[in-house]
Amino acid sequence: MKIKTEQFQATAREELKTRHTRTHLDLVGLLLREKRQATMGLFPDPAAALDLGRTIRAEAVERLPELLEQFERNAAARGAVVTWARDAREANDHILRIAKEHNVRLVTKGKSMVTEETGLNEVLLKNGIEVFETDLGEFIIQLLEKPPYHIVGPALNIPVRQICDLFLDKGIMKEPTLDPVELGHAARIFLRDKFHYVEMGITGVNMAVAETGTIINVENEGNIRLTKSSPRIQVSVMTLEKVVPTMRDAMHMLRLLCRNSTGQLLGSYVSMDTGPHGKGELDGPEELHIVILDNGRSSFYRDTEAREILRCIRCGACMLECPVYGKIGGYPYGWAYSGPMGQVLNPLMLGQERTRDLYRACTFCGACKAVCPAGIDHPRKFLSYRAGDARGDPTYGAKRRPWTERSFMEMFTWATKRRWRWDLGLRSVRPFINRHAREGFIRNMKGPLAGWFKSRDFPGMAPKTFHDGMHKRGK
């Protein structure tokens, strides 16, 4: 998938004009937030349940190498073939090799952000293997050749009219309809044949249980179950942080994941594989391949602050809470991961230079952090990336800020370091600033600060400072 994180501002500007996107986001956000609160409220002590989830994820990340080895040992003992891939190319090559060894021509996929990250579809298609995304939203955006809009609802923003035209154009249905249910039915009929004859199924992984060697998938449509049940070969791709210590931990995280992503007690289907199918089974995989993908994660793991993002369970709650995401939607973030979790992860994966607009698009309201069931402090990370920019810290490839901003900040620092400089400064800028004030407020200003005043007012400066006033009284 093409990385377009540099185009954040331009895409955001475009998206803000799309009224359809806006009304839609408002509605979905409201609805899901209410459902999440309702289902979270069903815990005997919601705060304690949240706290436990955060502790499980923190522990999993701190014990990562040990848990991964335990997981691999247990999965392999049950006959799964576990492979480690250092980067996207190794993962894709490995999956392609499995497909070629078995002469696979037709692949179905369950929704997986990790294969969006690695661009697996392009590789398979280039090698003459047909690949169908089967999650309805992913199916639509695959046909549209668009990136996911939201990690849980990848095509939430696409208007029905456009889906109708698309389905007619691609021969998925014959008669036009604007009914979402009928559009869904057309996709069901079209994909059914693919599920019937699929030769290899590829899925992501929601959780990998170290203690049992089990992989767990959560979904609502049944496309992942079909992808795992019909073909003889199953390939499940996980990034290395998906592991949790125990099955009990997995069950608790399931509750949190489903409540926070879709406001459900549990997704329609949770399927758990411990090795390939057993003896005499008519369906299910004869071969279960599990690919553990690193793709840069083990490198930033050495940074005890940065590794916190590995706690993420991909529920999408941070996006729906974020006031910025709520206005611009998922496209401006320019990659598979959007919203606050993407703003934290993308700079670590892609480097700060090409993602600098991402971590600046934040109001520091802290809503993401407050809701995160994995205990990630997103705003703190944005501050640290910004500080990295200011220092020109090469760790994640930060480039220094423009000289104008730097020299302004240096002057400002110099001015604030001595009392007399500050007082002198105030006195000298006051007439300049207050020239723009009307009735005590500055509502707009020409020059480089014009943009700031577009949506904000600033109180004018008082004729004298509080201190000056007090001094006079004292005398």
């Binding site: 014990r63 449509e221 411990t274 369906d283």
Partner: protein, 227 residues
């Protein structure tokens, strides 16, 4: 690649500085654990109903078959795919089908994988299965998949009819997984939690059932099963 890749990745992870593992907080037990048998069943039924599943409570296996006949007639079912799990097998659905002019396929009847898949995807108007457990906290049906319980029976046909013995209903997930994953090497190769019909809301957030799996999930809850 795998060995060097693995060593490299694990090497980096292990070389990273360690942080203290936070202690686990105390969490109050889930509400469902305090329910008595009848309340647990009640919660299970309540959750299923709110998911849009039809639930029929019957006394014994004989009544279950009568209910199944009623459901099949109402839906005009002619071809059914049934599993051979320990709930469904004793009901002799092939025999029941012959009496009611309904063709009942079972895994045993299938020549091979392709034949089975053809029936599951193309022929069957409904799949009938039992359950290994029901879970009250979310109205969840737990199926352990093996030769007698193929995965596609409860998934490929548009309708899923499930026979649930009341004594298999448990309060929470852990009561099921603690048992199934207790000993090394004995965990089921595939375990499914089914909670309501196949759903999607991917187009315009319009929620509807029957996306890829069953549109209707009908539960026949049997109070007493033959010992």
């Amino acid at each position: 690649m795998s060995q060097t890749g693995k060593d490299e990745i694990l090497g980096r992870l292990k070389a990273a500085p360690k942080k203290a593992i936070p202690p686990r907080p105390a969490v109050p037990p889930l509400n469902e654990l305090a329910l008595n048998r009848e309340e647990t069943i009640g919660k299970f039924v309540e959750n299923l109903t709110s998911l849009g599943c039809e639930v029929h409570r019957v006394r014994d296996p004989g009544e279950a078959l009568a209910k199944l006949t009623e459901i099949a007639r109402a839906a005009g079912l002619k071809r059914i795919l049934a599993s051979e799990d320990d709930v469904v097998a004793p009901l002799d659905l092939p025999g029941w089908g012959r009496q009611n002019d309904i063709e009942v396929f079972t895994p045993k009847d299938c020549r091979d994988r392709e034949d089975f898949k053809r029936i599951a995807f193309e022929e069957a108007q409904a799949g009938v299965t039992g359950v290994d457990f029901g879970v009250a906290e979310s109205g969840t049906l737990c199926l352990i998949h093996d030769a007698s319980q193929p995965r596609l029976v409860s998934l490929a046909p548009i309708r899923h009819i499930v026979i649930v013995p009341a004594d298999r209903i448990r309060p929470v997930y852990e009561t099921v997984t603690d048992k199934l994953f207790a000993a090394e090497g004995t965990a089921p190769s595939h375990l499914t939690f089914i909670t309501g019909p196949s759903m999607t809301a991917d187009i315009q957030a319009t929620l509807f059932a029957g996306m890829h799996g069953p549109k209707d999930v009908t539960v026949i809850l049997v109070e007493e099963t033959a010992a």
